[in-house]
């Protein structure tokens, strides 16, 4: 699954854009978080990897800003569990297991919006990666 952050402005928020796209493209979309009011809002959603580009294009065509957040990936081969990232993580997505192994919770991780751990890894095991090569560029709100 790929994650997308959809941002609606004041005009768009009253239209059923997300449901139209779901029906039109027959794409399942899991809403992870949603903060919406009459002034606009944001939805963080997950869509299948092979339909990610299609969904992003569909939203952008309707003038909705879509961000494909970069994800943080941990190379468990490279990581030697020093733990220098643990206390830096603001959402406790990185923890030490009882046997002192560093554990990374991808779901809790905020991704590149934070990225505080990346340059603190002496093993260079933490990388900020693009999702499925999809462009990060966000359309400007009109």
């Amino acid at each position: 699954m790929g994650r997308i952050l959809i941002r609606f402005n004041e005009e768009q928020v009253s239209e059923p854009i997300a449901s139209q796209i779901i029906i039109e493209h027959k794409v399942p979309m899991a809403i992870l978080t949603a903060h919406i009011n009459s002034k606009g809002g944001e939805i963080l959603a997950e869509v299948p990897d092979d339909q990610l580009q299609k969904v992003v294009d569909a939203f952008r065509k309707r003038g909705v800003a879509v961000m494909v957040p970069k994800l943080i990936e941990v190379d468990s081969e490279k990581c030697f569990s020093c733990g220098s990232c643990v206390a830096l993580c603001p959402v406790e997505a990185i923890t030490l297991a009882p046997d002192s192994t560093v554990q990374f919770d991808k779901v809790r991780c905020m991704g590149s919006a934070c990225g505080i751990c990346v340059d603190a890894c002496p093993a260079r095991a933490i990388k900020s990666v693009k999702q499925n090569g999809v462009d990060l560029i966000r359309l400007k709100k009109s």
């Binding site: 030697f80 569990s81 020093c82 220098s84 990232c85 830096l88 603190a120 002496p122 260079r124």
Partner: protein, 500 residues
């Protein structure tokens, strides 16, 4: 050995290892046994306690002999994978220092990574230049090598296994990148290093069993202690080890290159020492717990040799994930790997259990009374504290008129705004006051600068001076860690000092 004996020897232990009768416990297991059964039972039942540590050890490196080329070359400068390597001896002996950095990708790849690559069996590129002599006519060479092509590949680490180390924090306003990793401003995180109760030296603090010739676990193979490490400071519970071993036999799992952003490269080394339980005293000493091992919390934002200490913590607190500094809870991370330290002590235990590793007595024990001296400096440099002078201050509810008067009376250009406790709130300059007059402003709040660039008393004046130039300002209030104003330093002070 009879149950009554009060001591045992290394020879007796080795005989038991040969027969498969020796009782080996990891340091972790030993502590539990002493807790549950007491020192006497632990001494009677346990022959060897295995310790371990796995951390960034910058004073590490490897001596390699690359063999003679045809025609031969007396190497003057050499690079391995673009990392400059030293040529401290004859024609083709090189030293790969862990902290030497690649000229192509500095801060990301260095000597530690070259050592790891070689140990892993990877091919590395050697480039070398020379001035050419009658006996060594060649002036340049380029080739690729693996560890199998090297005659000797000897890990020689001149300071490893620090008995304990500082806990690092950052009391400044900006992120700093140090060899203690990334430190967030205003004490928002802390880092520490060391295995605490698993550390080799901590389990034998009088160095009864350690010294030149002690056989150890080094980088996944057998190695040796060859003496005290540099900066060995036993009186301060900060002993260190100098060690060597055949890197060809080592494993990349226990020798890993590392990169510290803004600091440079290093090498993580897995090191473990077997401690023969020769007497009851050693049984008691190997029962030491993290809660008994204290270390200083040090503010790394102060760019001085003696950095301010903000308190003490135990390794038990450090390993708990958070510490308290003046009632504030701060999350703390380890830089060394406890998981790998445990693996070192466990692997060493298995080697002894299976009879592939025998203990050795040191031919000369580590010194217990040496001290670590600071550098003798023949030139003094000035610090902020040596030129700062008292700041003229005001409070936030004063009128601009009163401030203007104070500027004139004291013939200064800067008034520091403080609260009732003398803590920094802002700064007002004579220019701000002039502008207020021109624009008819009356309230201090309209002209005061609230985000103030500051200095610390113990900073070198040069750093403070550069900061003023960087921000294009002419004074810095000098504050302590509680943001209390101690004085002010101005560009005039700097100029006066230089003109002296």
């Amino acid at each position: 050995m009879s149950n009554q004996a009060k001591t045992r020897t290394v020879e007796e232990i080795n005989a038991k290892i040969r027969k498969g009768d020796a009782q080996i416990l990891t340091a972790e297991e030993m502590k539990k046994l002493v807790d549950s059964s007491g020192v006497e039972v632990a001494f009677r039942e346990v022959d060897v306690v295995t310790t371990g540590t796995f951390g960034a050890m910058c004073s590490s490196g490897a001596v390699v002999n690359v063999g003679h080329s045809d025609p031969p070359i007396k190497i003057d400068n050499a690079w391995m994978n673009n990392v400059p390597v030293c040529h401290p001896g004859a024609a083709v002996d090189l030293f790969i220092g862990a902290t030497n950095m690649s000229e192509k990708i500095p801060f990301e790849y260095g000597g530690g990574h070259v050592i790891e690559d070689l140990v892993a069996g990877n091919e590395i590129e050697l480039r070398a230049t020379a001035y050419g002599t009658d006996c060594y006519p060649r002036t340049s060479i380029k080739t690729t090598l693996t560890k199998d092509d090297l005659n000797q590949f000897c890990l020689i680490n001149f300071r490893n296994g620090y008995q304990r180390y500082n806990c690092a924090v950052n009391g400044s306003e900006e992120i700093i990148y140090t060899y203690m990793s990334k430190l967030l401003p205003r004490l928002r995180n802390a880092t520490y290093s060391g295995a605490g109760e698993l550390n080799p030296l901590m389990n034998d603090p009088d160095y009864e069993t350690m010294g030149m010739g002690t056989r150890i676990f080094l980088g996944g193979a057998q190695g040796y202690i060859i003496g005290e490490g540099t900066q060995h400071s036993p009186k301060n519970l900060s002993g260190t080890l100098m060690v060597k071993g055949d890197a060809k036999k080592m494993s990349p799992e226990f020798l890993q290159g590392a990169a510290f952003t803004g600091y440079g490269t290093s090498l993580y080394v897995g090191l473990g020492v077997p401690i023969p339980i020769l007497n009851e005293g050693l049984a008691r000493k190997t029962a030491i717990r993290d809660s008994e091992i204290m270390t200083d919390i040090v503010d790394y934002s102060v760019p001085r040799r003696d950095r301010p200490k903000l308190g003490q913590v135990s390794y038990a607190e450090l390993k708990s994930g958070s510490i308290n500094i003046n009632g504030k809870k701060i999350r703390v991370s380890s830089l060394s790997s406890l998981k790998m330290a445990k693996k070192v002590s466990q692997t060493l235990k298995e080697w002894i259990d299976e009879g592939s590793f025998f203990l050795s007595s040191p031919v000369e024990r580590l010194p217990t009374n040496s001290t670590f001296k600071p550098m003798r400096q023949t030139e003094e440099i000035p610090f902020v504290v040596s030129v700062m002078h008292p700041a003229i201050t005001c409070t936030e509810n004063e009128e601009i008129q009163a401030i203007a008067k104070r500027i004139v009376t004291n013939s200064v250009n800067h008034i520091v705004v403080v609260d009732d406790a003398g803590k920094l709130l802002g700064i007002v300059t004579s220019w701000d006051v002039t502008r207020a007059m021109a624009e008819g402003k009356k309230a201090l709040a309209d002209i005061e600068t609230r985000s103030v660039v500051t200095a610390k008393p113990e900073e070198p004046l040069e750093i403070a001076s550069k900061r003023m130039a960087q921000h294009n300002i002419s004074a810095l209030p000098v504050i302590n860690i509680e943001r209390k104003v101690l004085g002010i330093v101005t560009t005039e002070d700097v100029a006066k000092l230089l003109g002296r």
